[in-house]
Structures are given as C-alpha cells and as structure tokens.
Amino acid sequence: MKSVAVLKKPKMITGVNSFECSFDAKSINESFARLLVSAFVSQLDPTVADMTDLKTAVSEAVTNCIVHAYRDREKYKNARVYLSGVYFPDGTVSITVKDKGCGIDDIKQAMEPLYTTSPSDERSGMGFTVIAGLSDKLKVSSDVGKGTTVTIEKKVFGG
C-alpha cells in the first residue's frame, strides 16, 4: 500500500457526529455528494467561505473516482463511491472519499499541479492541488487494481 501524506496524519479522537454512505459512480452524483457534505457540515454553522472550500475539495475527490478510478467502465460493473465524514469537538471536519477502482501508481506525480492522465477530456490536472490548497490536511492512499482513499481535513469556524 502506497501512501503520501501532504501534512500530518488525521488525529484519532472520538467524533461528535459522523455519517457514511455510498452511491453510484455517476457524474450526476457529484452535486449530490456536495449537498450531502453541505448538510452535514452545516451542523457546525460554518462560514460561507469554509463551507465552499470543503464542498470544492469533496467535489474534486468524488469527480476523480467517477472520471479516473472507474474509467474502464466495462471492467467495473458496480462502480460506487464511498463517502463518509466525521467532525470533532474543536470544529475539525474529516471527509473520506473512497473508490474500488484502478488505483494510482505514482501518487506524488498524480498530485503535481497540471498533471493529468486525461488531457483530451479537458481535465485541468488541478484537482489535488485545489484540495491541498483549500484544506488543512490531505491524505491519499492507493493500491493499484484495488482502489484509492482520499481523506480531507479542515477546521471550520462558526459563521
């Protein structure tokens, strides 16, 4: 299992509240995922800016599952995205986006700005850069042929 943590590992304290779900890896569900995360995070009464940052980061990770992880649609009959979240007493939100798709061979390279394996599809290659820029912590772990897990952490402040 290869793993690259941009910053420190997410901390292990019991959360105040958590959710877990999965949905079909269909592009129409990108907005569904954002809505779910908004509804969950709104319990913390965050600022509009923090909410937008989290929605954007989650949108990136979910889109990557749909666009990249299951790009060989023939191979993955039951392509699903696994989304879960937890928040802690200090206002730290941790969202995990997981797929059981093709995996990433070189995570470091994948995370470089402008790097994309689908330029013809008008991918900007900025997904991971955007997540890293908008969150406090980002952790990516992947197993080729098994899938990828992305964990995004951000402390939100009451609005």
Binding site: S31, D121, E122, S124, V130
Partner: protein, 108 residues
C-alpha cells in the same frame, strides 16, 4: 446549471447560472463549442455573476474555451466571478491569460 446566450456584433456572451462541475462542464462544452463554430465570435464573455460554484472541472472548461478563442485569434474574458471562483483561477495560474472584468448591470 442553467445557461443562456447573447450575441452582439462579434461578441458572444454566455451567462452561466448555478454550479459548474464535471457533469455540467462536459455538457456545456458541447453546447458552447457549437455556438462558437456557428457564430465565430472575436470575443467570448463568460458572465459568472450567478455562477455560485465551480471546481477544477470548471477550470478545464475555461482553459479549453480560452485555447479555442486564441486559436481563432479571438479573446476571452470573465465577467463578475465570485471570490471563490477568482481564487481558483489564480490557483491555476491562468489569471495571466484571461481578463477578469466587473460590470454593474448584466443583461441576459
């Protein structure tokens, strides 16, 4: 996501409403490119006053249309992007290639 178009001389304005993600970017790209092909504008304005959300798929869409306009020796501008959208543009470093303008009243 909702879109409408306005043509004035050689300027094509695309008014975008709602959330621009990968799902809508791939639909929008086909539509906007068909317009560009038909009208051959010299200037493309993306009017974003009411575009409330965009992720890096939106960046891909903007960069793609910019490349297309440059190839046709035309220009492209963004009108009234919100702060989050403008920050995405800066993050991608495409603020050097694309002009951002502010307009008080935008017709649709």
């Amino acid at each position: 996501m909702y879109v409408n178009y306005e043509t004035e001389g050689k300027t094509l304005t695309v008014h975008l409403y709602g959330e621009l993600d990968h799902h809508y970017a791939s639909l929008l790209r086909v539509e906007v490119d068909a317009r560009i092909k038909r009208e051959k504008p010299k200037e493309l304005l993306l009017e974003l006053t009411n575009m409330v959300f965009m992720d890096s798929s939106g960046l891909g869409f903007i960069m793609g249309r910019l490349r297309k306009m440059q190839k046709n020796e035309g220009t492209m501008m963004l009108v009234n992007p919100n702060r989050a959208v403008e920050r995405m543009i800066n993050m991608a470093g495409i603020d050097k290639f694309i002009k951002i303008i502010r307009k008080e009243s935008v017709t649709k």
